[in-house]
Amino acid sequence: MTPAGQWADFHIYDLGSQIKLFVHPTGRFKNVLLRLFVRSHLGDSPSETAVLPHVLMRGTRKRPTMGKIAEHLDGMYGARADADAAKIGENHVLSFRVDCVADRHLPGRSGNVKRAMEFLAEMAVDPAGNGKGLRADYVEQEVRNQRRALEDLMDDRSEWAAQRCVEAMCKGEAYATHEMGTLEGLSKVTASSLTARHRRLLETAPMELYVAGRVEAEEIAKQADRIFRFRKRGPVAEVPATVVDVPVGEPRRVVEQMDVEQGKLVMGFRTSVTYRDPESTALSFFNGVFGGYAHSRLFVNVREREGLAYSAGSSLEKTKGLLMVHAGIDLKKFDKCLEVILAELESIRAGKVSDAEMEATRRAMTERTRAVLDSPARGIAGLYERRLSGGVKTVEEALKEVAAVKREHVVEVARKLKLDTVYFLTAKV
């Protein structure tokens, strides 16, 4: 097969079944990674999409039980396989993963990588069942597990607070839905509805396959083209783009109570900046100054100076264009904490960013960017995520952009932030 192109270290191929294949051959690792991404919209049957990977992991036509699958994987020198549904902006992405040891490091002609790819396809495409559809008992059990997992969300107070803040902030938007779906949606899932969902995804969902490790690109492409064949596939559907620009009014305040000793403060900002925008790197830079690192304002001031919190920081979602602030704080210090955080934001907006802060952030971002070179898994995840919003950059390009960020860019992008929602999880009175 001839590659359709090359991007950075990746050789790109168009497989016959309308799947794009990205191969990154590298001799530095003993592990070979295989990833298949299947994409739909978070507003389109999210509960079914979310439960599907768990049903598929229960068994394939050739290996209909978890025991048979585990035996197969252990036999491949402890290959690891799993699948889940993740949320990237308003994309709902099924990802199927297999990791295995490269053939080079194994005794004899093991064919380990080929078997790993075959199993990846088996898992995604060829489930256990009587040929007519997914096994009803598996569907029932996994719907039950999924319902429990959704209910269990509240057991992790920080994650719960983060999700509740997003739900309040993005009410009416697809983004409000959790990647695990909804309890209401799950109650309607049946074996036949899930079988139909699975078939529709295989026929129409955009799919990309990634392989990284000690492999030969051409050989992988040939194998993939042979292994990833479908009875029926195409035309590939268009997934609606993530809605980024949403009007913001007065900040909304949500207070909820739970059995907690420590309060959780979450603040949701809209930045209206995503990977594809020219301010993308400046936004990351701002986040670095504000709350992304241990030298950032939030950590230094909220935790170290004021002793208000054990944890305080911020993170970005650059497909939807959100910046979230998280802090675990003393229950009585909600107002003080909020005040300190907003004062830090104002000071950055007023241009009070020191040279030392700029350089520390630049160094930290440079190191983080280069660190991708050590981790094929992060390389794949990063490339896929960026491809979704169209802001793909090589490591060299990204480093150049980081080097070029000036204080005024940081201040400018800080001024674009709009506080949408303040959420506080506090103790019951």
């Binding site: 020198y77 402890g78 008992d137 241990a294 950590f299 930290a364 981790s375």
Partner: protein
């Protein structure tokens, strides 16, 4: 560049090579007393260094240089926080400013400090050396740290998984300090003074009680020389003998069953067996760990019929796990997860265990599980951090990590069964439950 001659003072360096994974690490006992390891990883961007001391939350009663001490619970963890505080500011922030990320962790019997970076490795290593070997204990800093640690302890208390685990530890041990949370309690940390912190540091942070492990694209000799010079410059040398004492822990558990109500979605279940005869550090300890963990894998690992049956019945789910670990003074097997029917799960697990202890492990299963272990070993050194951390962990275990595949391949079904029969008893077993309020 021609190779520089060895600094005669840091010899001898021992090289360990694993033909299986084609990797080599180097270890030297430096004149200052510190043991240092370097695991070169050619072509990797990232470099990681970690200092460890054989001192953790259980080491509160000890003798050193002729005097006896009894320290408050949580002091090892408090000391870990305090060592980051220097006249120039917080070192966590300092590392971050240099583009490095750093952290530390206190366990029951060890404490570690680490950073990873791409550039300026030598500079960061100097900072880390100063972090552990040049402390400042100011009363106002100690007072403020109490606020931060109190928040940390409260954060943990809000985590259901922590709560059920802490209850389990309290039931498992009636006297051993492993029954107390590593961070201590909100009350116990109030009593901590700068003088006590100073004493604990003096006792447990002498170079001879510590180890350094480094991984990345680095020259081992340069690292050894830098560290020796750095420690020497701080005027530290070998220090006196430390005698730690622990209360005698009975073979039976303190409490057979414990249950607490909390605001959780559904019940959580944990069951543990106390190690009644902890082996000494070295091969014996590693052999025991491997044997019991192989047994657990054969009993209730993902590939087993028991797991599949209980999963299908809804008695357990992906949150379920089981593992064994041990130190010279305490250890246990802990298993558990979320379940709607804790009693049903307990019964089924015990029935499965009884059958396993009678029948033993099937040859086919043993081969399969050993293959999985070998794969995990082969993959284990692909990333920089695990190289450094494995060296450190196995240094404390007094075992060469590269000998692990051989040790695993030699463990027999009979040895596994013997170890399991000695370990899984009735009176050393306890159950901890968390039920929805």
């Amino acid at each position: 560049m021609p190779p520089r001659p060895y600094n005669a003072r840091v010899l001898p360096v021992i090289d360990r090579h694993s033909p299986l994974i084609d990797e080599t690490y180097h270890v030297a006992k430096l004149p200052c007393g510190l043991t240092a390891y370097v695991f070169p990883k050619k072509g990797m961007q990232r470099k990681t260094a970690v200092y460890g001391t054989l001192y953790g939350s259980i080491d509160n009663d000890f003798r050193h240089a002729g005097a006896s001490y009894s320290m408050p619970h949580g002091i090892a963890h408090f000391l870990e926080h305090q060592l980051f505080k220097k006249k120039t500011g917080d070192l966590l922030v300092e590392f971050s400013k240099k583009g490095a990320s750093s952290n530390a962790g206190t366990e029951y019997s060890t404490t570690v400090y680490y950073f990873s970076c791409i550039d300026n490795f030598a500079d960061n290593l100097t900072t880390l050396t100063g972090l552990v070997f040049a402390p400042v204990f100011r009363p106002d800093w100690v007072a403020k740290e109490k606020l931060i640690i109190e928040q940390e302890l409260r954060m943990y208390r809000d985590m259901p998984d922590f709560r059920i685990y802490q209850n389990l530890q309290e039931s498992l041990y009636s006297r051993h300090p492993a029954r107390v949370d590593i961070g201590g309690t909100v009350e116990s940390i109030q009593a901590i003074t700068p003088a006590q912190l100073q004493q604990c540091w003096r006792t447990f942070y002498s170079p001879s009680n510590m180890v350094l492990a480094v991984a990345g694209d680095l020259d081992p000799r340069a690292v050894f020389e830098q560290v020796q010079a750095g420690v020497e410059a701080l005027g530290l040398g070998r220090d006196g003998r430390i005698t730690r004492s622990y209360p005698r822990e009975p073979r039976e558990v303190g409490e057979a069953r414990r249950s607490e109500a909390m605001q959780v979605a559904r019940p959580k279940f944990m069951m543990a067996w106390k190690e009644t005869d902890p082996p000494a550090r070295g091969r014996q300890e590693v052999e025991r760990e491997v044997a019991i963990n192989l047994a657990l894998d054969a009993l209730i690992g993902r590939g087993t019929r028991l797991y599949e049956r209980l999963y299908g019945k809804g008695l357990l789910d992906e949150s379920f796990s089981a593992s064994y670990s041990s130190t010279p003074t305490f250890g246990s097997t802990i298993c558990g997860g979320e379940t709607d029917d804790p009693e049903g799960l307990e019964k089924s697990l015990l029935a499965g265990l009884e059958k396993f202890l009678k029948d033993g492990i099937r040859r086919r299963d043993l081969d399969r599980i050993k293959r999985k272990y070998l794969g995990a070993f082969l993959r284990g050194f692909d990333q920089v951090d695990p190289c450094a951390f494995s060296l450190l962990r196995f240094h404390f275990k007094k075992f060469d990590v590269f000998e692990l595949p051989k040790l695993v391949s030699h463990v027999s079904g009979t040895a596994i069964l013997k170890a399991a029969r000695a370990h899984f008893g009735h009176r050393n077993r306890t159950v901890s439950l968390l039920v929805p309020k």
